[in-house]
């Protein structure tokens, strides 16, 4: 498909660096699916859908900075939703979110809660102000918090909140790769799913730029089971825009 025109209807400042852009166009995503967001004349980047009609974006580079200059009435091009999304299973699930990694997990929390599944969320961020979607996770179940500076919850990393005695049917995780790797090393891999971030070029499963051990993040992912990621490139290296290996 060619990009669909999506007009911005509302911009919500979630944190000092994270904003949610709502569109006049609604998609029917599975939680965890993403879209390719085209900021015309600048770049096109993959973004998780945080609602059926919204993406939640951290300002990190050229494209996101250009997006942050747009407001109500402006438009971008959207392709998608793409990828596989999370596979929701079990009676009690654990969500582990780091930073803007909360974006794809928040609709999963709401879907699970609406189906009567018990949801526990471990939410991490650099500071109290940078916690994303705390209220949405609290509305869906219980929340434990970790911040790098100790301004809220425990002083440390979200991985320190993972209970030693596992009592969850499934674990869903999204955040910085180093954090996700720590989670993978700590939990039963077969129970856990991880949403990966890679440099995505074509976004339609052809070029292979986003491959992790031959698996396309844009088409076979972005969500992968822990058993697939165990002993893989994940957590070791990624590839830059040229395809060169870069340590995570």
């Amino acid at each position: 498909m060619k990009p669909v025109n999506a007009v911005i209807t509302k911009v919500v400042e979630e944190t000092p660096t994270v904003r949610t852009f709502f569109f006049d166009t609604s998609f029917k995503p599975e939680p965890g699916q993403f879209v390719m967001a085209w900021i015309r004349g600048v770049d096109e980047i993959p973004m998780a859908l945080s609602y059926n009609n919204a993406i939640t974006v951290q300002k990190v580079g050229t494209a996101t900075s250009a997006l942050f200059k747009l407001g109500e009435g402006d438009s971008i091009g959207i392709r998608g939703p793409s990828g596989n999304g999370f596979e929701l299973k079990g009676d009690h699930i654990l969500l582990i979110a780091g930073g803007v990694g909360a974006a794809p997990l928040s609709p999963l929390a709401e879907k699970a809660s609406s189906q009567g599944i018990k949801v526990t969320t471990l939410l991490g961020a650099k500071t109290k102000e940078e916690l994303v979607f705390r209220e949405r996770f609290e509305a869906a179940g219980s929340v434990m918090i970790a911040t790098d500076d100790g301004s809220e919850g425990i002083h440390g990393y979200v991985t320190q909140l993972i209970p030693e005695q596992e009592s969850y049917d499934r674990i869903y995780c999204c955040g910085p790769e180093i954090m996700m790797k720590k989670v993978l090393d700590k939990v039963e891999p077969g129970k856990a799913q991880f949403s990966l971030h890679r440099y995505i070029k074509c976004g339609i499963g052809i070029c292979g730029a986003c491959c992790v051990d031959g698996l396309r993040v844009c088409k076979d992912g972005p969500v992968f089971g822990g058993e697939v990621l165990k002993n893989s490139e994940f957590g070791v290296y990624r590839r830059n825009e040229c395809g060169e290996r870069v340590r995570v």
Partner: protein
Amino acid sequence: MLSLTLTGLKLKNPLLLAAGVMGTTGSSLKRIADNGAAAVVTKSLGVEPKTGHANPSMVEVDCGYLNAMGLPNPSYKNFQQEIDIAQDSGVPVIASIFGGCALDFLEIAGTLDADAFELNVSCPHAHGFGADIGTDPALVEDITAAVKTATDAPVWVKLTPNVTDIKIIGLAAQRGGADAVVAINTVRGMAIDIESGYPVLGNRFGGLSGRAIKPAAIKCVYDLYDALDIPVIGVGGISDWKDAVEFIMAGALAVEIGSAVGNNINIFKYISKDMEAFLAEKEWTFNEIYGMAHKI
């Protein structure tokens, strides 16, 4: 039943992975080989690492795809390890290479260890590379001849259809000593977002691939088969076994499959099985259908 020898390479079937598709990493190439491809071609490699064009770099359009990746690649200097991983699959790994002059090609082909080289003188949207070179028969002949002096591996030349007469470029490659030609690269194209007037591709224009270009590719293969003594490898819009058979009847000794891999990662397995069934039903051999359209 479908096995053949192509420029000295032993292939279990005539189905190869085209350049630029799942070709940036050794493990993705190996995955395609494990899924039935008889040989795989890498992403085009240059002398220095290159980021490529801004996104969108590939979009689906009516009956095909438009792309302008912009030759992103980690440089041949960082790629031997990926070729080695791909070779673990047991199938030949062909390095697609590009450059701005004969010396670039010479440097890469003289250093990299691959089962064959495919010279990309046909990318339609990289200024100073690709089709900027491949539309000039003298340059194509010179570059091919230079690469032949640098390697004992077979050298294939991938041709652009964006010329008045593709046979002239094919003959130039043959004079330069090419072991085969590959036809065709993408057809120059463009799409515009009517909501904003912006060209959709980051590079503004690019190359068309997929179903839409198949008849154009068939005609190029048909003409090259007549004009050349070296084998023609057909590529352009193959989505199923019937397309592959059509290319072989037009005169392709083997075919490459690209865009269709996106929606069907197992396409090589399916096409090979269905081609075998078709030949059995018709009681034809591969050799009988090779160039069949010329013989009747």
